[in-house]
């Protein structure tokens, strides 16, 4: 069987975008999109965990009894999250400080369990890995976009680079309400474009 990676990528970023279309994993989306850099860090961690967990769950899909599949999935996911957590703490301390509690919380990120349940548990290993990668990329791109928007709207900066620095920061955008407002506006924009097309 062959996998068309380009099509899969399109699926992960556009048609089945985890944040904007499936609307899963809202907790990290809202909490870690305070800046483009934090969002990117979170996204990359999710790619790592999602790819590994999809791979292992797909490999073991015939071994895991249906009755205990959720606890089994969670054990796998929690293991990889802890591994990522320890590795980031040891090797990328600044990122660890910025993301704080949200790395351990990847365990309960619905995207990971959602892909395990909806895809990896039913498909062979290679497609599952690809699914993990493309979904992770879709998540990362969306999250980074939100992070960049919030960073720009609050301080006029993106990735810490001053594009048009404001004299007075619009703090609302880096606080929780700013996350909801930005996400709402982006979702509205997507619906707007979609309605126009159809």
């Amino acid at each position: 069987m062959s996998i068309n990676f380009k099509n899969e990528l399109y699926r992960g970023i556009v048609t089945e975008n985890p944040i904007f279309r499936i609307v899963l994993g809202m907790c990290p989306t809202l909490a870690t999109s305070t800046s483009a850099m934090n969002a990117l860090g979170m996204g990359v961690s999710v790619i790592a965990v999602l790819t590994c967990s999809n791979m292992v769950i797909s490999m073991l899909r015939n071994v895991i009894p249906d009755k205990v599949r959720i606890p089994a999935f969670i054990v796998v996911i929690a293991t990889f999250v802890t591994v990522v957590d320890l590795l980031i703490a040891a090797f990328i301390p600044p990122l660890y400080e910025a993301l704080g509690i949200f790395i351990p919380l990847i365990v309960v990120n619905c995207i990971i369990l959602g892909r395990a349940e909806a895809y990896a548990a039913k498909n062979p290993v290679l497609p599952s890995i690809v699914d993990g990668i493309v979904m992770g990329i879709g998540f990362t791109l969306s999250l980074t976009m939100l992070g960049a928007m919030r960073e720009f709207l609050s301080a006029g900066m993106i990735f810490g680079y001053a594009i048009a620095p404001f004299k007075h920061q619009f703090i609302l955008m880096i606080l929780a309400p700013g996350a909801f407002i930005t996400l709402g506006l982006v979702l509205a924009g997507i619906n707007f474009i979609q309605n126009k097309e159809s």
Binding site: H168, F170, I171, M173, P177, I181
Partner: protein, 339 residues
């Protein structure tokens, strides 16, 4: 209202429908706010006039632009509702607000607070308050900058060296010192200070543009209540609740509490209770529902003022109670005839 292509409108009562009334009502409310606006210009000088004009113009412009180019629906600035939102927003800002902040406020009020929900009549929250709260959270330093450059207040400050009045509102001042060992001294200072009831009522205290003169606000509101544009239940319940709680708090702990008249007349209570909480779209239908709504606003306001992080709680209280309006309307229904 889009009624052209629909034969019947099915919806919650009441079913008496006068399309020409919206603009008339809005215009009357604007008219009723003129005394307070005039008083604001007198107290704060040219700065206040500037903020008021920018507020109205930017709100109307935002509504027109979004409706024309983004939503591609008929432009409804002729119903004066955008102008009213802009005016109310401006009345809720300090006189020192920079022009761009007023414009951002209008954009949020009209764009997010009103049009994103589908326009007039669909918005769950009072649009002007959405704008004000967004600015308050977004620009806390600018939104608590009570400096004045002109008008009656600057004259007054020259005469009485009252540091307390130039740097913060009395409520803000007490909040800034809460939990410290200075609260008692400060409370004593304010409670014995010569800003008496009359001064507060007529309007010589620092604060947002529109909240300085309760007298002017009351005049406008009475006109509207007389014209049956405003209901009296919400303001009465709201202000009454705040008064009762403030009095109770004062008598329980007089050494740590401001006199009740500060709670009644020195914050945004009258502006909020008379002109924001009574917004027809975002308040309950029934008499009893409005009483519940007003009491809820009063309790939340005092909770925030006495225990919250912000010195003033009127806008948060009204927004929070706005959320409860659908529930209030479900559980408190008008009595059916003949039951």
């Amino acid at each position: 209202m889009e009624t052209k292509d629909k034969k019947w409108i099915v919806g919650q009562g009441s079913h008496i429908y006068f399309p020409q009334d919206t603009s008339k009502i809005m215009f009357q409310v604007i008219l009723a706010l003129l005394p307070a606006s005039a008083m604001a210009v007198y107290v704060f000088g040219f700065d206040a006039l500037k903020v008021l004009l920018i507020g109205v113009i930017s709100a109307v412009a935002v509504e027109a632009l979004i409706q024309k180019y983004l939503m591609k629906t008929p432009v409804t600035i002729g119903d004066y509702s955008a102008a009213l939102t802009g005016l109310l927003l401006a009345l809720n800002l300090p006189a020192s607000s920079p022009w761009w902040m007023v414009c951002i406020g209008s954009l949020i009020s009209i764009g997010i607070g009103k049009l994103a929900y589908g326009g007039l009549g669909q918005n769950p929250f009072n649009p002007a308050l959405v704008g004000r709260v967004a600015l308050l959270i977004g620009f806390p330093a600018l939104m608590t900058d009570w400096s004045v450059t002109g008008g009656y207040l600057s004259e007054l400050y020259r005469k009485i060296p009252a540091e307390a009045l130039t740097t913060a509102t009395p409520l803000g001042f007490i909040k800034a010192y809460s939990g410290s060992n200075f609260t008692a001294d400060l409370v004593a200072y304010f409670n014995s200070y010569s800003i008496n009831l009359k001064t507060l009522f007529i309007g010589a205290t620092s604060g947002s543009i529109g909240e300085v003169s309760e007298l002017a606000l009351l005049l406008g509101a009475l006109y509207l209540i007389y014209k049956k544009v405003l209901n009296w239940e919400i303001p009465a319940a709201f202000i009454g609740t705040v008064g009762i709680i403030a009095m109770a708090a004062y008598y329980v702990k007089p050494q740590a509490m401001l006199l009740p008249h500060y709670h009644l007349f020195s914050g945004g209570l009258f502006l909020g209770a008379l002109f924001m909480a009574t917004d027809m779209v975002t308040s309950p239908f029934t008499f009893r529902g409005r009483i519940v709504f007003g009491i809820g606003c009063g309790v939340l306001t005092m909770l925030i003022r006495l225990y919250g992080g912000y010195p003033e709680g009127v806008s948060f209280a009204i927004l929070l109670m706005n959320i409860f309006v659908p529930i209030i309307d479900i559980y408190i229904k008008p009595k059916r005839f003949g039951v």
